[in-house]
């Protein structure tokens, strides 16, 4: 498979001895045009990779912040076609690695193979499908790689080690380590045990490991970056962009909030 922008980015980070910063936003929140603007601002703020939430009416792995973002996107008319169009527009101006954070039904309704091909054509680099565990992924996985997309997989604190070994075999791009049992959303501290879990995963794969769920401040991001290859921040960013005025100033302020976390992550030295 040819190298995606995600693969290239992690290779470059490794060379530089730096940790990665991944930002999650809900596509279409508050509108698809705004998504183009926000992604460009995130790139300017130093974000290495953007996870775009493909809006779904029933996002059961998400906390209230991301649920509301998806609801706002759907309310504003974000369709599958619209989101693809939005990605293509981003691609006219940016080569930042982009992955979709998706629920299976939106892809299934489109026709899974078609959804993969359309996303790849628009400029997406990979998929993280929340509700498609390994056991159910058999009929679908081949279409992800056939479209030259990364298949990002989740490992959680409840994943037994034997199963972990199987799961990482199917992965490409990076492995997403969920730091805690629960849904997305900012918490006060990094979960105990996250460090051990990342270490365990790294024992079974050469892929970079990103830590997410519950991270939302520069000190938390730095702490996560001290043992993971990359840090994912979602709800805190979604919240900030949502609560700030939708003006150039408001956007710039939200981007500055992200830049602070990026800075904290980039200050962590990674052994080469």
């Amino acid at each position: 498979m040819k190298k995606t922008r995600v693969d290239q980015k992690f290779a470059a980070l490794k060379k530089q001895g730096k940790k990665g910063f991944i930002a999650y936003i809900g596509a279409g929140d508050p509108s698809l045009d705004d998504t183009v603007d926000i992604v460009l601002r995130l790139e300017e703020a130093g974000v290495d990779l953007v996870e775009l939430g493909l809006p779904f009416s029933d996002p059961l792995a998400d906390g209230r912040v991301n649920q509301d973002a998806a609801a706002r996107a759907l309310e504003a008319g974000a369709t599958f076609d619209g989101v693809m169009n939005c990605v293509a527009k981003i691609r006219e101006r940016s080569q930042i690695p982009l992955i979709f954070y998706a629920y299976l039904n939106t892809l299934y309704a489109r026709g899974f193979e078609k959804a993969m091909n359309e996303a790849a054509a628009a400029g997406i680099d990979g998929f993280l499908i929340l509700d498609m565990p390994r056991e159910e992924s058999g009929p679908y996985r081949k279409f992800i790689s056939a479209a030259s997309l990364n298949s990002i997989v989740l490992i959680t604190p409840t994943t037994p080690e034997e199963r972990m070994k199987q799961i990482v075999k199917d992965a490409s791009g990076f492995v997403y380590c969920v730091s805690r049992e629960g849904v997305t959303g900012v918490r006060d501290s990094i979960a105990e045990g996250a460090r051990g879990l990342v270490g365990k995963i790294k024992g079974h794969t050469r892929l970079p490991v990103a830590l997410g769920f519950g991270i939302g401040t520069p000190p938390q991001a730095a702490e996560a970056a001290s043992f993971a290859d990359a840090v994912v921040v979602g709800s805190a960013i979604v919240n900030k962009f949502h609560n700030n005025p939708h003006t150039p100033e408001g956007r710039a302020d939200a981007a500055a909030f992200v830049a602070e976390m990026v800075k904290a992550v980039k200050a962590v030295n990674s052994p080469l």
Partner: protein, 400 residues
Amino acid sequence: MKSARPDSQGHFGPYGGIFVPETLMEPLRELTRVYKVAQKDPAFKKELDYYLREYVGRPSPLWFAQRMTAQLGGPKIYLKREDLNHTGAHKINNVVGQALLARRLGKTRLIAETGAGQHGVATATAAALFGMECTVYMGKVDMERQALNVFRMESLGAKVVAVTAGQQTLKEAINEAMRDWVSNLRNTHYVLGTAFGPHPYPMIVRDFQSVIGKEARKQILKAEGRLPAAVIACVGGGSNAIGIFSAFIKDEGVRLIGVEAGGLGIVPGKHAARFAGGKVGVLQGTKSYVLQDDDGQILLTHSVSAGLDYASVGPEHAMLHDTGRAEYTYIEDADAVAGFDQLAQWEGILPALESSHAIAWVVKNAGQFAKNDIVIINVSGRGDKDVQQIAEWKKGQSTK
């Protein structure tokens, strides 16, 4: 005929399965393992039988509805009286079973979703009985239309959480219960109330509800010495229907008829007839028929009955639909309310609005049967909870 058992990953033909976030995979496997052990353990069966007999009040009667039969001029109508169970519906059968499993799992807290409130009441009841903590998630709209059941749950010591996302009914309550479960796995068992969701729930719920069908089959053979021409049940998620159907699936001459909520008619957003207006999709852990738009977004639903007001249907029903072993049809709000009144006045029984859909189907379709045919209707619950809703519905009709 496909086997009645799902495969090891919970597939009923092309339906079912386990479509959940990774965090839930191991807890679901653990539940599957514990259930398998329990199934083979005579002590578990003895314990379950004890609670069903002494606490729930089983077996429930199979009542020959003589006046209803006479009014319709046949067929011979029998009512399986799940409304007479403790707490007033079939839901308790499954809840007692799952609470016993939760105890084996070492869990001290039960959570549940509820639509009409009957499953929430049953779960709150079992939690009280076994000394467990209990939280019930209920859509805010359902809390308003089923206020009596909210009061019952709270009286039983449960915490009822209003869910304000989306259309604020059963689907959102399931999302919220799953979010709670994924956050509190160590001490919490999620008592899913219907034959839906990720494996093993559709199998476990079906098995615990199969007592309805086993009793009914034995009772009708004793009363009439022959099998019925049809067994009729309402279908929301589908637990009361699969519970009574399961005993008759091998009796190929017995028609199995599932009645969905036709709401205001088969127009998108106005009904919950998944087989009439849905297509195959993945929702809340399982693959089945789903009411959705072209982008795979789940559609709003409507039914006068909160317990049938849901966008998808249990995966075993999807398989029975496709193989043709069961038939699925629907009844609209107005006919369901009429069915409620008719059973009340003919038999002195107030059926739940959910069950009233099954009653109404028989009232409208009695002519399909020979006078001497037997039909069994599953009266899945009692209608006390619905009287205010029906009164308001009637007021709305008269001012139209």
